[in-house]
Symmetry: none
Subunit: 414 residues, 2 copies
């Protein structure tokens, strides 16, 4: 089965909202093994929507359209689809009752304009809307399925999961092909270096396929298998994944839903170790990311954000002499911060960061992006120097990543 997604709504073209529906549907269809080759967004305009639908009917046998089912005059998806498919629109009595009920339970009378939402192309399978007034529908014609769903994600998502997904599974029957992907996450190696290390795997890829993504200074390797059963797909992926992990070693920090912070939190828990964090340029981001992980409270004890020099001295015991001689962004300061924060509350381990996140504050000697990361274990402290590129947010993100990765490196060796 080959699918095509059509998102309608001028607000999407104007960039006023993100198209989360396309992501949601893409993900769900991929799991079912249904190929999506094109996704088109079009405004609330009848002739352009008709054009897109005509094109989609030529190259796909499953078409999912979202949006344009509201009661107002710029909602015209159903009307356009009915015209393109040569179908009449008829009032669906059950839908009309449901829409009237929706207003009644809210103590309101149904506005006359909502009556339009009960109109359905003749012969359509009607999909109930549990979270709003617009029913969805499935029209079958000439071996193709045209699915029309409301635009708001709170209405579309449950409708898809409860009605469209079972419909598609039934249609796919037993001979469906599953597409299963796994993302292998790498930090500390560039995309081209990675590709060099696994070029032979990439070159001979057919199934599973290997692709690269590069979000914010990391590299994700996506391995995608296409086969009949989930078990088979997992085995095919595991074969490639093991080989990739063997080649890249500890540069691979996790896969799929694992984040740098969840991996670190898991390792801390496994080894029963506590950590504290002293942050300057990241301003709380490391603590925030660690505490994004539910249940981290037994291992992450405290964090101190020392944005001012005075706070570095007061809370972490960084010496005024060090700050004066080497500056707040220096190896020595990072070292004393890591030592100090660990001592302050007696954790097993500690991290510290100090750097120039920009956009201001850079000098030729200490440019924007220069960061020192300290790691303390007992009375031992080590410091690493980095030079990151990007804007303030990206530099802060990469700094937090590098700090957590330093901690991960230590924990991996235990």
């Amino acid at each position: 089965m080959r699918a095509e997604l059509i998102s309608t709504g001028t607000e999407l073209l104007l960039g006023q909202i993100l198209n989360t529906n396309a992501k949601f549907l893409g993900e769900r269809l991929a799991r079912l093994g249904i190929d999506v080759f094109f996704q088109t967004t079009v405004g609330d305009n009848e002739s352009r929507l008709a054009e897109v639908l005509h094109t989609a009917l030529k190259r796909a046998n499953l078409i999912i359209i979202t949006g344009g089912l509201g009661p107002t005059s710029d909602d015209l998806t159903k009307e356009t689809a009915a015209r393109v498919l040569g179908l009449e629109l008829l009032t669906d009595e059950l839908s009309l009752v449901r829409i009237e009920d929706f207003f009644r339970v809210r103590g309101r009378k149904m506005p006359e304009m909502n009556r339009k939402q009960a109109l359905m192309p003749a012969g359509a399978l009607v999909l109930a809307n549990m979270a709003g007034t617009a029913p969805g529908m499935i029209v079958e014609q000439a071996g193709k399925s045209i699915v029309i769903l409301p635009g708001p994600p709170v209405e579309m998502e449950p409708m898809f999961l409860e009605t469209v997904e079972p419909y598609l599974k039934k249609k796919l029957g037993e001979d469906r092909v599953l597409i299963v992907s796994r993302i292998i996450k790498v930090l500390g190696l560039g995309e081209s270096t990675i590709e060099e290390k696994i070029r032979d795997l990439v070159d001979k890829q057919v199934n599973p396929t290997i692709a690269f993504l590069a979000p914010r200074g990391e590299v994700y390797i996506r391995v995608t298998a296409k086969t009949g059963t989930e078990k088979e797909a997992m085995e095919m992926i595991a074969g490639i994944e093991n080989e990739i992990r063997k080649r890249l070693g500890d540069y691979v920090y996790g896969a799929d839903g694992e984040t740098m912070e969840s991996v670190v939190a898991g390792l801390l828990k496994r080894h029963g170790l506590t950590v504290s964090v002293a942050e300057s340029c990241t301003g709380g981001l490391i603590a925030k990311r660690l505490t994004d992980v539910p249940g981290v409270s037994e291992n992450f004890m405290y964090g101190i954000v020392t944005y001012s020099n005075d706070a570095k001295t007061r809370f972490l015991g960084v010496s005024a002499g060090t700050l004066e001689k080497h500056g707040a962004v220096s190896e020595d300061t990072a070292s004393e911060m890591a030592f100090g924060v660990r001592q302050a509350g007696g954790t097993d381990l500690a991290l510290s960061v100090t750097g120039v996140a920009g956009p201001g504050g850079g000098t030729p000697e200490k440019p924007v992006g220069l960061v020192f990361i300290g790691f303390a274990e007992g009375n031992n402290v080590a410091v690493k120097r980095h030079l990151f590129t990007g804007d303030r947010e990206v530099i802060r993100w990469q700094t937090a990543n590098a700090a957590l990765n330093l901690l991960r490196g230590y924990l991996m060796q235990l």
Copy 2:
């Protein structure tokens, strides 16, 4: 000028990432008064990308393609475009030098495969990439402009703003119609309450138009004007904005690029006051958000993330008796945290938060979403109780918002 956007990348079709590029470009083009009628997403596949490009060339005179400029073999946007446009690919020597430099300053040798990124369609205008290795390009052919930009938003966005936008402005000349939007940001009032207060404005809207968005517990009111000059548009918007601000008062906390944290940072600076923050359930998010604002270092002195009870006692002086009697999530603990963090380093003001962010840890008495926020000024402390709904991330976000808003309320009255 009529534009069409093409996003390339199988990861978009598979729903693995959100298409933020389409939103960003849609928004920027709308501001320039350039209509976007279609936006298409296509995978890393040469024939399908060629098909989409052919279609776009028929119906638009500005085509912007993002993605597929990386060094690897599944990056084929440039190659496909050159083929469709009948152009040769030639090495751009300046780009090659820039790419080699990119690696040199990082102390690495340029991998051989990155050489490919310096290939450009003959006659293309080359756009430098300040944040990565892939240059962008503009090709002009038969009165049409084809713009090709790298996929990662950190590379694409600055490249668009610094090179493509000036290029388009020049092309548009004087006779363009501008669409200007302004977002008015409201915290503390629900969407329906706001709509009641400004219903007459909404009912008579034609130009400017008024629309509502509701991200994460806030309400955004978008006012959009369509006219010939930026000055005219601004005046039209200002008229509506003043009326909205008059009706909603201090519930309006900012507009457009202003964030809760930037507004608070601005007020602190204006009044020359310092603040510190003690965080439990937000785990550093408030400090992180305040330090997202460049130059906040003279007003935000330090933050202490006390995730454990021991840390609350040790760093903030919360009494063991209070923790035992009332628990960590209580009015008394929030109060002592605010008092203690202010005292610890002697700031003028202080915020504290303690709560149950979930998903675990809720009880009938202290359910998930229960949060206490403390505010200290000198030796005076006030505590506010909130009950938020949503998942862990949303509860933490709303908690940080409410804490910063409490501080804003105080600063507004000075």
